[in-house]
């Protein structure tokens, strides 16, 4: 007898189909068996566990397309298991894990290792992203075909922009052969080498080594030209400036196959949040001007920015308790992804659009079956109160690393329960 779970009196939001209706949803055999406004209205179904979720939203579990863990190689910061705890607590049911581990995920056998480890230890689904070039060195493309067969969902050199346009051109062209998704980080490597902030009055006051914000748009322009040449499926993993977004919007209007994402912290913070050299808010690309931050939030609201990612990057005291210029970049973010996405909604963005950017669209880009409430889809679900106020407390995070850029921040809306394949993997309180 398979386990059945019935949700009733819940606000169902399915960004994949545009459904936003009060009703019920039935989970059976780990899949969504039925959904509809009148489901369970009259009679209780036979013997299911019933969750009366009045006032809550039931949506597809979040798909986070950019998550760094420390496995393999830096398990003291984060393992697949600990990252999956944080993901579950954040309503995230699929994490795309980044290849910048030690060793770098650039071999089919390593993708296989990750999938086996994930199956054995992780509570949420793990989708490995492989390196685009061997060792992330920007010189030799990886075995994109064999890595895909092993289970890699995308190819990405993480925070390293491929400097050599010839290498990138051939890697993109080769990836296009398999219609593989190539992801890119956009920071002109020479302009940004050794810098820690965006060039501005503020960085000048702090005396920080800084790079001009145009370092991003320069690479976006170059890469769009290469996409038009090669026909690759291309995704800018995390953009942060208005200029870069304008180039991407124009390219999309021409029919170029580019998409882009934004990290949650670039929606919620600007350069001034660095304050007195607060290294937990050192990220890569660095925090930008308020104009750029507002352009990012607006870009999500308009649907010009396709997805929001946590860019979850666990760091320890050893790497963060350093002078700002030499401290490691990155913030953990799995547990704040949903609240920050919802903050856009609280500021006026359409809830469906915001949720789509963390569910259906990342699932589609990565070629995953989740991100939808369609009948027959895996029952990867998040039940949340969109308005519940709370204060982020670093020491209560589920992640092994606690380097959140949002410690003490008041946010609204977070996960109550998270389900992966019909199993409850998180329940608050």
């Amino acid at each position: 007898m398979s386990r059945r779970i019935a949700f009733k009196n819940v606000r169902l939001i399915d960004p994949a189909s545009g459904l936003d209706v009060k009703g019920g949803l039935l989970v059976e055999n780990g899949r969504i068996a039925d959904i509809g406004p009148r489901l369970f209205n009259d009679a209780e179904p036979n013997d299911p566990e019933v969750i009366d979720a009045r006032g809550l939203v039931l949506a597809p579990g979040l798909v986070d397309a950019c998550v760094h863990t420390g496995e393999p190689g830096a398990e003291h910061r984060e393992t697949l298991a600990s990252a999956s705890e944080a993901a579950a607590a954040g309503g995230v049911t699929t994490i795309a894990v980044m290849p910048s581990t030690n060793p770098v995920i650039d071999e089919p056998s390593l993708v296989d290792f990750l999938l086996r480890r994930a199956a054995a230890t992780a509570k949420v689904r793990v989708a490995p992203v492989a390196a685009l070039t061997k060792g992330l060195a920007g010189e030799t493309m990886t075995e994109i075909g064999l890595l895909r067969e092993a289970g890699a969902v995308a190819f990405y050199d993480c925070e390293r922009t491929v400097a050599n346009a010839r290498v990138l051109r051939r890697a993109m062209s080769y990836a296009a052969t398999f219609d593989a998704l190539v992801m890119a980080h956009a920071e002109e490597p020479e302009l940004t080498a050794g810098t820690a902030a965006t060039e501005s009055e503020f960085s000048t006051r702090l005396g920080l080594p800084a790079a001009p914000a145009i370092a991003e748009a320069m690479i976006v322009a170059r890469d769009i030209a290469l996409v038009e040449l090669t026909g690759a499926r291309y995704h800018f993993a995390q953009i942060s400036t208005r200029a870069a977004l304008a180039l991407i919007v124009a390219a999309k209007a021409r029919g170029v196959r580019v998409t882009c994402g934004v990290a949650a912290h670039h929606l919620a913070l600007n350069e001034l949040d660095v304050g007195a050299y607060y290294t937990f808010r050192k990220v890569k690309p660095p925090l930008r001007s308020e104009t750029d931050r507002a352009a990012m939030a607006d870009g999500v609201a308009r649907g010009d920015i396709d997805i929001i990612v946590s860019s979850h990057e666990p760091q320890g005291a050893d790497t963060k308790r350093q002078p700002f210029a030499v401290a490691a970049a990155g913030t953990v973010g799995l547990e704040t992804l949903l609240p920050i996405a919802l903050s856009l909604h609280h500021n006026g963005a359409d809830l469906m659009t915001v949720l789509k950017a963390v569910t259906a669209t990342p699932a589609r880009l990565l070629g995953l079956s989740g991100g939808t409430l369609a009948k027959g889809a895996p029952a990867d679900l998040v039940l949340f109160d969109a308005d519940e106020p709370f204060v982020v407390e670093a020491d209560k995070l589920h992640s092994r690393a606690r380097n959140t850029a949002f410690d003490g921040r008041r946010l609204q809306g977070r996960a109550r329960m998270t389900f992966v394949g019909g199993e409850c993997v998180f329940k608050r309180g």
Partner: protein
């Protein structure tokens, strides 16, 4: 003019590429080559057709089969054949191509067979020399005698080209063999498919009247001939493709991929082969499907036909000089 003069075949006194040849010229060359297949299979392989003529092989790039094939072809027709060893020549001392050409010209050869790493080098020589020039491969441009020998092999096996599907697979980008073959086969009415990962497909390949595929399954579907190209292992440093094992997995010809082609499809390869990279050994060595040795045999006959045809052009030139 003596009545013994055979009919001319080629309009040009050079063979620089397939481009510029007409279907009638190709057919006449293949017909002539057929007769030389018979001659090469006889015990006495030698005639005196080119007696007194001088053929110089000038190979700026390494070659085994093409150079020896031209040498044999020349000798079987009775010509004096000289192989220029470029490594030991004044070219190695910095002489320009044009100066080398002038020097050779002064030795009054009748036919110069040239291979050069740069596209257009044979064209340049043909304008500077008073003898016939045969392109034995110039960069990634043309290798017309390879296309003729491949066509001869195909025609003898399949009877013709009309509506036959020929899949040319592999490193098309760097291949002069592919360029000459697709020109010839398309001109003769065959359906040509180019099959390669995108980085190994040249720009605008679809503008040559061929179909372009990036996977073997669609590329080989219903193919009569599967023509594999050598993957330049020296370029395998990740520049165009990631590794030889990945290449073999997706583009190397094995039994599984050959099964996508028409039952009884035949396999060709211009050589030299990289076993386990673009072709598996069991296919390369299977005489039921592999035409690889036959291609080498046809190579001598096709080149004899070219030498014969060009010598008729030379004869006409000297005739017209005599009458002037």
């Amino acid at each position: 003019m003596t009545s013994a003069n055979p009919l001319p075949i080629l309009k040009s006194s050079h063979l620089l590429g397939i481009e510029g040849l007409s279907p009638e010229e190709v057919t006449a060359l293949l017909d002539l080559a057929d007769s030389y297949v018979a001659q090469s299979q006889a015990a006495d392989k030698k005639t005196a057709l080119l007696k007194g003529r001088t053929l110089i092989n000038l190979f700026f790039e390494a070659s085994t089969r093409t150079q020896s094939s031209f040498e044999l072809a020349g000798k079987r027709l009775g010509a004096d054949v000289m192989n220029m060893a470029v490594k030991n020549s004044s070219v190695a001392k910095g002489e320009t191509l044009i100066d080398t050409a002038s020097t050779l010209n002064a030795m009054r050869p009748d036919i110069l067979v040239v291979r050069h790493e740069n596209a257009g080098a044979t064209e340049l020589l043909s304008r500077k020399l008073s003898c016939s020039v045969i392109n034995a491969g110039d960069g990634a441009h043309e290798h017309p005698t390879q296309a003729l020998l491949d066509a001869l092999t195909i025609r003898r096996r399949l009877g013709g080209f009309e509506n036959r599907i020929v899949a040319i697979c592999g490193d098309i980008l760097h291949s002069r063999v592919a360029r000459s073959n697709l020109r010839l086969l398309a001109m003769m009415g065959a359906r040509v498919r180019l099959v390669a990962p995108r980085p190994l497909l040249p720009a605008d390949a679809d503008r040559f009247g061929v179909e372009v595929c990036t996977d073997m399954k669609t590329g080989l579907k219903d193919a009569d001939i599967v023509m594999m190209l050598r993957l330049q292992l020296e370029r395998m440093g990740g520049a165009f493709i990631p590794s030889s094992r990945e290449y073999f997995r997706f583009y190397g010809l094995d039994r599984e991929k050959l099964a996508y082609a028409k039952p009884g499809a035949l396999v060709m390869h211009p050589g030299p082969m990289n076993r386990g990279v673009e072709i598996s050994s069991d296919i390369a060595d299977d005489v039921e499907v592999s035409l690889i040795s036959e291609q080498v045999e046809m190579g001598v006959a096709a080149r004899m036909a070219v030498l014969d045809a060009l010598s008729r052009s030379i004869a006409r030139k000297s005739d017209s000089r005599g009458h002037a």
